[in-house]
Symmetry: C2
Subunit: 413 residues, 2 copies
């Protein structure tokens, strides 16, 4: 069994619109164990839609068509599917009545054009859409299933979850499970080396590795036709093996960012935090304060871009900068100590480095970043050489700082 | 004349990958006045590719196929196009030689599998790819053009720009022009009201409005078969009218973020800046320091999350907080004054508000944000009520702060 997606809308053929409905659908069909073999984005013209729909009927068991069900003259999905499948459109007075009631509730007049939305393909079931006026449709056609969904994402997702998902589950008996592992501190090839030999050979379990600067995520998905326990069993067996290979580089087993993991650890232990940033320029504090409730543990941040500010705000000794340079472990450590003592926090993180694109030297190249953590017991530092553009270097610096704090909090007695 | 895009790769049919190559291509084909009528994403299996390619040949004058040209067994685009068009693959020894030289330069052994990349469709021109080992291909087939491009984005864009663009320009005579206007400070419906009646009725000029929190961009694109001057003429006529309607809400006529506009103004006037942030939590400083060279004007930032920090670092009077609350114009102004005098900067921006989701009251709801700017002459404030989630409120706060500084710098004598 396989599926394909046809997204209708000329706006989706402009460079600025993402077809997010299809990404959503790929994920949910994956949960049902239905692979998507093709995704087509086509404009509003029936002349472009009809051949696309006919080709889809040749290739796939399930064809989900999103968009083009609204009231305007550009909304021609109903007509195009009718033409492609040789089916008439039938007027459903109860849809019109529901639409009229909807407009009346909102005390707005209903334009005549809305009538178009009451036409349904001959033989199709109507899929109710309480979030909008255009209902979806479900049609069985010579062994194929055609599903028509409204384009606005909250309507698309609503009709899918409430109307399509139960029908798919009745049709495609089976159970999907997903697991996620998020790591930081390893490069992509390090991860590949560690997990070598673990890529599953069967189609029912899949492993996907997603790399971004400072973070590598592993997704395990599994499907069983028998039971949820069977799907979970094979997903968990692979996940357990991945966990033993990746060990404490894993910071989360949920799709949470590391700042949220750190937030939970700080809250759980009742500890507070301050930051002192040079090259990360406020990004570290920004990420920490993205977490709702961060005022419970985040006391204060310093962005000491100028050396004068490092001296004035954080008490970094002038001589330390003169001897080592601002980008050095001793200065990063002094910044962390200064932020901790000034704010009275339990922990303080400091970042000093060269984000580029200029300012690098042979001895201290762009991407060289020192990160220090001052805690109740001691001050520790790391020396890092990050690659990429300015924003990627800032990002990796903040990621490293958060990971150092995460490890310290996990190790604290 | 029309085009369609076929993106090949099973990874593009997972929920986590965006097909960015196609968005890039839609923009560039638009520049050449070639509309894209369909965009298909298809997996690696030739059985799925071949019908897609045949349907494309039926429908479109130009078919760009991206991906699947690499050395691995999954890279079957060459074979699938050959099958769809009934053309043999021909071995090109000069491609193999170039590949061998490339590996030799990198002092790495060349795996035998790379030989596959030296096969070219019968009758196709080879499109050199200095950024990778797989070359592209350009094939004229019964009045249709097939273009095969490597999948990695920098190779895709490189081969497109250097090899495909000149061929397209020779084929599709005409001239495309794009203009952009970026605004802040107006809501989407405000913009729509102001530009009412300006949407062009002809197909050769298009106006697109893109709204995001705190920013609305207007894109004007125009195409002429006659001359660049004709295309520019119609684009500029509309742009001039839009500019008169949107006036000083426009902060840029390039795709630059507002922090970069502010950076240029500060640099141009030789002025310096400090920041004092509460609810924006470092985002304002982060945006300012994303601009390369920001150390020339950005001296220092304070993130005074705790009230104690506002008092200690910025000298906000205790009584002012007690009387007005931390989220108030007087406190934001005192923060700005404190950051300016402490850092010795020419300007200082301060933000104090409630980013939510909790912490709001009837009198001071979530989204209430005071932004103050202290300058050489005076301190000014704005009271804002932003909507959205925590990150959207932080973002709009930083946007408002940057816009206040922009306006002050433009007005300064």
């Amino acid at each position: 069994m396989n599926a394909e997606i046809v997204a209708v809308g000329s706006e989706l053929l402009t460079p600025d619109f993402q077809d997010t409905n299809s990404l959503y659908l790929i994920r949910r069909l994956g949960d049902a164990g239905i692979p998507v073999i093709r995704r087509t984005i086509v404009g509003d013209r029936p002349a472009d839609m009809v051949p696309t729909l006919r080709a889809a009927r040749e290739a796939s068991d399930l064809i989900v068509v999103g968009g083009g069900l609204g009231p305007t003259g550009d909304d021609l999905t109903r007509e195009a599917v009718g033409e492609a499948l040789g089916r008439r459109l039938v007027f459903h007075p109860e849809i019109l009545t529901a639409m009229e009631a909807r407009f009346a509730r909102r005390k707005r007049p209903m334009a005549e054009s809305n009538r178009r939305q009451a036409f349904v393909l001959e033989g199709a079931e109507v899929l109710e859409n309480p979030r909008g006026s255009a209902p979806g449709q479900w049609l069985e056609d010579g062994g194929r299933r055609f599903v028509l969904l409204p384009g606005p994402p909250h309507e698309f997702e609503g009709v899918f979850e409430e109307q399509v998902w139960p029908r798919l589950r009745a049709w495609r008996k089976g159970f999907g499970i997903r697991r996620i592992l998020r790591t930081t501190g390893l490069g992509e090839s390090d991860v590949e080396d560690r997990i070598a030999g673990l890529y599953p050979e069967t189609g029912s379990v899949r492993l996907t590795v997603l790399a971004s600067p400072g973070q590598i995520d592993l997704h395990v998905s599994s499907f069983s036709e028998i039971s949820e326990a069977a799907a979970a069993g094979s997903a968990d067996a692979l996940t357990a093996e991945l966990k033993s290979r990746l060990a404490d580089f894993i910071f989360a087993e949920t799709p949470m960012p590391i700042e949220e993991i750190v937030a939970r650890l700080l809250t759980g232990e009742g500890k507070t935090l301050a930051t002192a940033e040079s090259c990360s320029g406020g990004l570290l504090a920004h990420r920490l304060t993205n977490v709702p409730g961060s005022s419970a543990y985040f006391l204060e941040g310093f962005i000491t871009y100028e050396n004068a500010a490092k001296i004035r705000e954080l008490g970094v000794p002038v001589g330390l900068i003169a001897t080592n340079g601002a980008v050095s472990a001793p200065v990063a450590e002094a910044m962390a100590r200064g932020a901790r003592s000034r704010s009275g926090s339990d922990y303080a993180l400091a970042v000093s480095g060269i984000a580029g694109p200029s300012g690098g030297t042979e001895e201290k190249p762009v991407g060289l970043v020192f990160v220090s953590l001052a805690g109740p017991e001691s001050v520790v530092s790391s020396r890092n050489l990050f690659f990429g553009r300015r924003e990627a270097i800032k990002w990796q610096s903040s990621q490293k700082a958060l990971d150092m704090l995460r490890r310290a909090l996990l190790a604290s007695p």
